[in-house]
Structures are given as structure tokens and as C-alpha cells.
Subunit: 203 residues, 3 copies
């Protein structure tokens, strides 16, 4: 648990709060959605590799950060629009950190590199998937996939760099930066993978 | 597994059957919904703390009780309205028992009190959440949250009472009673937490 | 991992691709839906009995087969209609194999025969349930249940045959054949369990 992790948890919690507010949920529903958005991906990762009790149960700080972020986001919800750019940056940093944490856990469990990359992607994206399912939406990730592509590219970078004599820490930093860079570029230039049957989709 | 537990399983199963009937499911769908409503919360709790195979797999009585309740509820479905008050009481007792069982398991796994309270709430409420997701509804708990608030209050009572020289059994009974009391009062006086953006919601 | 298993994985992956295409998902969404359709049931089974890291993480061949099937199905999507009969047969074989694999794992974990049958049914059917939840549909299995009935009958056949002096391998083959037979007959003669409130359902 590093200080930088907290940025990701804060951003993910607030993204959950914003969607729960749109759905007109009560304060308890908002808190739950913030929680699953922030820890859902890591929880699924922990369950799949058998790392139990899952992480957020063993580190109470995570719960405090989510609780604090949720309260702050609800109180200042009318002003949150001014923060959208900062939030987007936090969120992108969060994705990057979550991806690398998932990859790392996969390596510790001695899994195949492809599975490690999948774990990184699950850690970074599954919280949002659960959030969307609970809100009764088709998960946004299935329709806006550069998000996941960024995670996959970051994970792949890690395993490519490992073939070279580079220090472990630097490999993590560079791979994490790849995630951030791809996502920023994709959003800036509105890049997305081709959708099949696209012409019918734009209704 | 005490006799009183069975009341909760019966009530949760029947609540599942009623909702599945509304959705016009076939008999197999009804059984599944009854099953997940009754054991979904405990299953998630077991998975999160790594207590596997999960409880209902190790105690076949649970399956028999659910199967029996489902068959009875389907056969007498036209008469079930006369039992609504009894069912509501069973359900409330079930929530109380499930909450305390979750808190207890958290303590056995040596988790932080807040996490234990969360586990109690998950045990009592997540079966209903899965039921609603499978029926393609926004989980009712996110819109009617006194249910979960009662669980949280009961769990908190447990940890407050533990600071006093009270016998363990009594602590469980009093905390469980708090869950029941809060839920009954909330329903009787139609109390619910404020919904944000409430005015827009009542369409 | 036998060669025959691969048929099931291929069929399940393609069934996922077809549904994702209908939902106009992008290529990443299609891959995820193919993946959860193929491994979702086995993953839930592994989680419930505590067999982690889950199977697909320990056998990279599974991922390659899913990836290959998905790419092939997307490339030849305009021609896939000609293969519907073969796909249905593969799918039925897949269900049969998945059921028996689930039963076997339950026996290894020394669970009650009824629980083993449930595990077989979960393995064969839950991938489709997750697929439908992610696509925001009420799971088709709750409305077309002969699918699950076939799994349950196959599992029951296994435990009945075990009372007789028949070789283990033959028990698996006969039980698996029962799953296939019931499903083929049900589809051929359009048999389905009675739906309660059926008359209101046909809107």
C-alpha cells in the first residue's frame, strides 16, 4: 500500500459516486457502488488466485479512503464538474497502478504471462464492470474498450521489458506509464477499436 | 446450524419464489432464484474469507430446506398472500440471524470490526442483490436501504456490547434483536434514508 | 484436458461470439463474452470448492483455444449460419463434458451426491448465465430449462450407475450420453417444463 495507490482508490470511488447519483440511489447505494468500483477488480483477482481473505478485508485503510472519498464527493457533488479533468487524471493513474498490481500478483502466483496480463486487466477494469451490472447497464468497457487495451498493452510491456537487463522498479514505472500514455492518447484523439456492425449501432 | 436458522432459510427461499413467479419463470428458474436468495449472501461471505467448499455444500440440510420451501410456496402460491405478515417476520428474523452469523465468521477470521460488520451485512443482504440482478432489476437494497442499515446497526451493537462484561450469548441475542427492532420500526413508520435528487426520482 | 474437451470450449466460445455480435459489441467485448461463456461455469465451480488458482489460469491451452475460436468466428461470421447444426452438436457435447467434469470435481472434494450434481449443472450452465447478465438479459436458462434438466439427469444417472458393478469410465460415458440424449430429444420434440402463469407470458 503506497501513497500513490490512494489516488487510484479515490478516483475510482468518486467515479462510482457520480454514476450512483445519476441513478438516483440513496446514500447507502452510493457507498456500495463507490466501494465495488474501487475494490471490485482487486477482489475478483484475489478470489481467482485464491488470495483470501481478500485484500480490502486485510487493510482497513482502503475502507477509510473509500468512505472519505464518498462523503466528500456527495457533499461537494454540485462542484464536482470543475474537477473532471483532475478526476480523469486520477482515474488514469488508478488504472495504471491497478494493472501493475494485478500483473505482480499473477507473477507471485507463478502464472503464465498471458494470465498475468489478464489479471492486471481484470484488476483495473472489473470494478467498473460490477458497477455497471449493479446499475443495470451493459458494462461500458464492452463498448469503449481502449480502457482495457491500455491495460493489456501495459502488461505486455512489462513482460517484454523483463527480457532486457532493466531494474524491476523501472520496468514497473515504464509499463505503468504505457498504460497512462495509451489511455490519454486514445481519449485525446478519440481512438477506439472498430465496432463490428458499426453502421447499425449508431441509432 | 440451529433450528432458528431454518426460519431464515425458509423465509428467504419463499421471498425468492415470489419474485420469480412475478417474472413468470419456469419451475427450474424459480428453484434457482429461491436458492440464490437463501444462500447467496453466505456464499459470497465464504468466498471472500476463503472458507471453501462454501457452507451450503457442506451441509445438505440447507438444500433440503430450500427445496421443500420452494415446492410448498409454488403449490400454495395462491394462498401465500394470507401469510405475508408471517413471512415478513420470518424474513426479519432471517436477516438478523444471517447478520450475526456473518459477524461471527469475521471475528473467527480475525478481521477488523468494521470488516466484520460488512461481512454481516453482506451475508444478510447479498442473496437479495443476486436475486435482483438475475431478474434484471436494479437491486432493491440500493433503493430501500433501511434493510442494510439495520444489519449495520446490529453489527455495531455487537462490538459496543463486547466492551462490557456481558456473556457472549447475550451479546448475540441483543445485537440480533437490534436488527429486528430497527427493521420493524423502519417499516412501521416508513422511515428511509434520504434519497439524493429525491424530487426527480418520483416519476 | 482431453481432445474432446476442446470441442466444448470451441462451441461455447462461438456461442458467446454470436450473442456479442448481436449486441453490437466491439472486438474486446466479443472476446470477453466468448471467454466467460466458455470458462464461467468452471470458474464458479472452482471458486465454490476452493480450487484456486482456477483451472483456466493453470492451463494456458484453454485461453489459446478460446482466442482462436473467437477470431475464426468473427472472421467467418457471415458464414456461421451454415454451421448452426454442427455448432449445436458441439454445444451439446460441451454441456455433457462440462457436466461430468463438475460431478467429478465434486466427488474428489468428497461432497454429497446432490451437491456434485449441482456442481455439474453449474459448470455446464453458469457460463451462459454470466454471458446473459453481462449482455443485460434475463438468463435464458431460467426460461428454457431443459438445458439444466439434461445436466441434472446426467448427474443423477452417474450416481445411480455407481451402485452397479460397472467400470468408472463407462459410467462417465453413459451419463454423458444421457445429457446429450435428453437435450437432443427435448429440442427435437420442443419439450420444455411447464411455465407457471404461462398464459400471461406469451405476449
Amino acid at each position: 500500500m503506497f501513497y500513490i495507490d490512494i489516488l487510484g482508490i479515490v478516483a475510482f470511488s468518486i467515479s462510482g459516486v457520480l454514476i450512483a447519483l445519476e441513478k438516483k440511489m440513496d446514500i447507502f447505494g452510493i457507498l456500495i457502488i463507490a466501494f465495488v468500483t474501487a475494490v471490485g477488480g482487486g477482489t475478483l483477482r484475489d478470489l481467482l488466485i485464491g488470495h483470501t481473505p481478500v485484500s480490502w478485508m486485510q487493510n482497513i485503510t482502503i475502507s477509510y479512503v473509500i468512505l472519505g472519498s464518498t462523503i466528500a464527493a456527495v457533499l461537494f457533488r454540485s462542484k464536482i464538474n470543475y474537477l473532471r479533468t483532475s478526476l480523469f487524471l486520477f482515474d488514469t493513474i488508478g488504472i495504471s497502478i491497478y494493472t501493475m498490481a494485478g500483473v505482480e500478483q499473477g507473477i507471485e502466483a507463478e502464472l503464465h504471462p498471458l494470465i498475468c496480463i489478464a489479471l492486471g486487466t481484470i484488476t483495473a477494469s472489473f470494478g467498473g464492470v460490477i458497477r455497471d451490472i449493479l446499475c443495470n447497464e451493459i458494462p461500458v468497457i464492452f463498448r469503449k474498450e481502449i480502457y482495457a487495451t491500455a491495460c493489456i498493452m501495459g502488461g505486455a510491456t512489462y513482460f517484454i521489458l523483463k527480457e532486457f537487463p532493466i531494474q524491476e522498479n523501472w520496468i514497473f514505472i515504464i509499463s505503468g506509464a504505457v498504460v497512462i500514455l495509451i489511455r490519454l492518447l486514445a481519449v485525446k484523439f478519440k481512438i477506439s477499436l472498430p465496432r463490428l456492425y458499426k453502421e447499425e449501432f449508431e441509432h
